[in-house]
Subunit: 241 residues, 2 copies
Amino acid sequence: MDTKGAIGGTPGDAVGFRPLVTVDVVIFCLRDDDLKVLLACPGLEGRAWAIPGGPIRRDEDLEAAAIRTLEEQAGLRDVYLEQLYTFGQPGRVPGEPVIAVVYLAAVSAADVGPGGVAAAPGCGAETGHRVRWWSIYDLPPLVLDHADILRYALTRLRFKLEYTAVGFELLPPTFTLSELQKAYEIILGEELDKRNFRRKILAAGIIEPTGGTRSGEGRPAQLYRYREDAVAEVKARRLFP
Amino acid sequence: MDTKGAIGGTPGDAVGFRPLVTVDVVIFCLRDDDLKVLLACPGLEGRAWAIPGGPIRRDEDLEAAAIRTLEEQAGLRDVYLEQLYTFGQPGRVPGEPVIAVVYLAAVSAADVGPGGVAAAPGCGAETGHRVRWWSIYDLPPLVLDHADILRYALTRLRFKLEYTAVGFELLPPTFTLSELQKAYEIILGEELDKRNFRRKILAAGIIEPTGGTRSGEGRPAQLYRYREDAVAEVKARRLFP
DNA sequence: ACAAAAGTGTTGAGAGTACACCCATGC
DNA sequence: GCATGGGTGTACTCTCAACACTTTTGT
């Protein structure tokens, strides 16, 4: 028992085991009427895919490592990012223990090139990584415990969708109410009533009309934008009074 | 750029920086009509106090490390435990980077000895650690970024109190409705209406009368217990329909 | 009998939910 | 003119919040 002096993790006297720590980033995006995650194929372990990420570097913030992963492996920057969970079961990686600090990112399809991942220095083929968007509802075989991690990430995304404004991170800067509703339906996996949806979202005051319209097939739709100044988090319903 | 082969944190080829990783546990308890946290005085850095914890060991699950901390430093076992957040700013500890995986624990005053921490092997004076309960609303000087961590832990506890059953973890196995209401008031920091509270909590069906009563000053009160089989988490209020 | 805490109902307001038709445009 | 998606209102139910007095016990 060498807990002596170890309280609080002060550095001088604590000489603990030093594990490998990776930061992995689950990147969500709405494309083709589907919720997608970006996965990388490491070319190892058969044909299994993996959540993008890698070991942290010395003197690198965890969040900085996530931002670096987004840029290097996906060519993305300035995206919504939050810490999801830290996985550290000793058996999650065969061989030595690896601790994975997992982040959740949400990007708009507008920030991603039409072919898939945005063309950016260091992304895709340049570093020998193949990355590709997969439907969260139809995933390939995954490395290690990454299937569990994705399941948890989806649960969290759905949950936060209901009381925060994460949803807007997955949409382009301007959007129609139908597009917004569609996004919610895809993520939540259920249909919503059009009139109630519009009434409630307008009453919440978190979006405003841009004044523009978008023409498609049928009547042109009003465009809206997310109001950055709006209060993005709403009080949860109390189980108790 | 050595991201090659590092995706997903596979062990063989990834040779990253190995930081020191600690697991720290914020332990909440309701005592003396106040919400308390257990803090340890490392006897270093002047008179600053610290959240109990320490470096993880090889082949030790993160949660196992938290459970070990609870037992060794607080003499507690079988308590409510959840992962709170992982802190990894390089500057949070002077000297080398230390990553802190922080857990939140909630214990009933009944599980703690009347004097303070339960008498258990390895706790308290035996290991040279002084530990003591402090009011979360009136904290001593704290080591490193531990004040931030505690602030975040309180926010999370309050938030979860509203849509999960964490509250019961802070109460003894049986309790009166007045005690339950008092607990909520202390944690949320606001007064609640007695009739509305009782109606709602009984309607939720998550507690049941034990049949016993408790006599004090005035009319004896019905005792209730938490129903383990009850659905403990309730759907959050949707911002959107 | 009185102090002290336990227990108990009603009402008005606001939010949630279910539901069907007309409107503006492109072809 | 018709196909296509955009846009709108109402009635019912349920939940929430505000509010004060009676009951049971110990002293």
